[in-house]
Symmetry: C2
Subunit: 406 residues, 2 copies
Amino acid sequence: MATIVQKYGGTSVADLDRIRKVARRVAQTYDRGHEVVVILSAMAGVTDNLISLASRITTTPERRELDVLLATGEQTTAALMAMTLKAMNYPAESILGHQAQVLTDGDHGNARIIDIGSERIRSLVGDRKIVVVAGFQGSDVNGNITTLGRGGSDTSAVAIAAAIQADVCEIYTDVDGIFTTDPNICPKARKMDRISYDEMLEMASLGAKVLQIRSVEFAKKYSVPVHVRSSFSEEEGTMVVNEEASMEKLVVSGVICDKNQARITLKKVPDQPGVAAKVFAPVAAAGIIVDMIIQNMRSGGQTDLTFTVPMTDFDRAMAIERQVAEEIGAEAVLGDPEIAKVSVVGVGMKNHSGVASLMFTTLAAENINIRLISTSEIRISCVVTEKYAELAVRVLHSAFGLDQTD
Amino acid sequence: MATIVQKYGGTSVADLDRIRKVARRVAQTYDRGHEVVVILSAMAGVTDNLISLASRITTTPERRELDVLLATGEQTTAALMAMTLKAMNYPAESILGHQAQVLTDGDHGNARIIDIGSERIRSLVGDRKIVVVAGFQGSDVNGNITTLGRGGSDTSAVAIAAAIQADVCEIYTDVDGIFTTDPNICPKARKMDRISYDEMLEMASLGAKVLQIRSVEFAKKYSVPVHVRSSFSEEEGTMVVNEEASMEKLVVSGVICDKNQARITLKKVPDQPGVAAKVFAPVAAAGIIVDMIIQNMRSGGQTDLTFTVPMTDFDRAMAIERQVAEEIGAEAVLGDPEIAKVSVVGVGMKNHSGVASLMFTTLAAENINIRLISTSEIRISCVVTEKYAELAVRVLHSAFGLDQTD
């Protein structure tokens, strides 16, 4: 007997038919003698509908009240699922975030989990109940309803799995698992059997939207084995686990492409102490996250500063930097939204030299110009012109030996 | 400065426009310096939609889970209302049943309020906040969500008004107040300025659907002045208050008609001890409420037993009584669903004789046959053939001096 947490996303519970299918899957797991805790998202589209309802009241809905509103989405799914299981004669019981003792900070709309009490869930599974938990929600110390932000149900699931020391946290989604790259871009993409937390973190933050990044951080912190798999098939998916010796056989595990970036360059910035602070402080103050930064020395005590920001913040960042350029006496501000960040990720590269050079050579062979480079211990990212992004992904996928062979 | 509880029903908050109108009304009251607590129903149609969604899963949805589902209706309205008020720069805060400390028993779908803690609401209004409470819901001692049954938001409102010792509980609805009879039946019906709790109880239980009967019981028990009024006008409505000397001037305050009744007669029942128990025990066991009972003696140690049941239980009651008739040796079971119960109600009749005789004479003058009679201290009811119901209401309304004179 194992304790299994299963999380189903919005498309898996999009209507009553799908809820019934999920219920049968849950029941199967229960029938094998396991303790089962189910975490649910809102039915597909519901959260967006609620947000658009609120936005018809005001463009800036009070965040506390928006959380109260949004929480109804997961509450609905949890009730319908428990009802379906009960109708199938399984002893299910739904609980909401505050009932599941999901304690968060008070940052409405993007709350962070502080603690999860395991008593209520433990006591219910101890009575052989199937516990159906409304994901995405918790409550703060004053009992106010909070929500965990986009994809927050993943975090709910992993955090609850950690709290009750579950044997595995299964994340059911509409894809078969984690792929070496986006199969829509590269038909030779392969599903991975295993991936380490660190690689998953790099991939999640680079735009692979399978798992919310905070859920992976939680999983890593508490060593929760996460199984990403399809709710539409019985196939095994991808296990996200601690790094294992065998993982290092492959130098690179995956190739990721992120088009949601834009590039900004300040030309001929006076190269004086404190100038970088003047360039980046106002952007940070506006809540804009700067990703990559590069500085090119020029002659004559001047330098070019280039950095990337999320596409959605591009216009705001440009406006801010035009002001900055005037203040510090930079020559010009250039912007380019048509870029893409292509990255290779793999725990194996820690022990291998030559990954960067293989990456650069491969791109050069296709005449793809690299505009910016950044690296982490297990990742190398290059910014290229957007129109070459797909080609870059395919040639890198092949060069690093990731192509499906059959 | 007064403490005012305002309850708005589903039609008053049916869409964002109406919610905005209600918000303006709430804000007006707040601007006059009052402490304001708003209790809301689900938007019109929402509860029915949720019930029909659940019924697509199973014809008998688990009641605990149905409550979790239904509670989302009021939660949504509360969040939208608080959001609207905040967008108008009023310091509003929504709270749910459990947050408002509405403690109920565990009878899901029809829970009764055991206690309401006043601390949270008192503390919020003390901070000059407009408190927006999700009506219809509470939680039991184990923190499970419960709902109070049809019209439960009225009870939420009155109970909360009692708990926080509000000066008045305003029930906003789509009619102008309580009328002497149904204006659709009798164009000369008048809106009452005041009505006593006891009269309102009789009228609520007789099918005047303005207030949930339990809310009136609560109001009476804790002497909460209830003001029933229209959310679409500024006119004063009807005050439901303790009996006052002036009220007794009118012998009869109102005439009510209830068509949701059916009549069952057991012919030639052996007149033996215990036979009534044999007739009524199985009906009670089936949860069917018997309203009026009449027994006609016949010669030869036999009797006819006639009683009424709600229309919705008519078929089940008939089936039970056919069985009973066989067991006890009654001759036949006759049923008649085409009846109506017409009643006159008034605290004044306690001190006046002749009300019954005026009622019978008035009906006789129109050749309306009375099939059954029942009375309480402040009510006389007659069952008549359904097709004469409207006529009976009109002539009684006129005979007891209730007709509008202008």
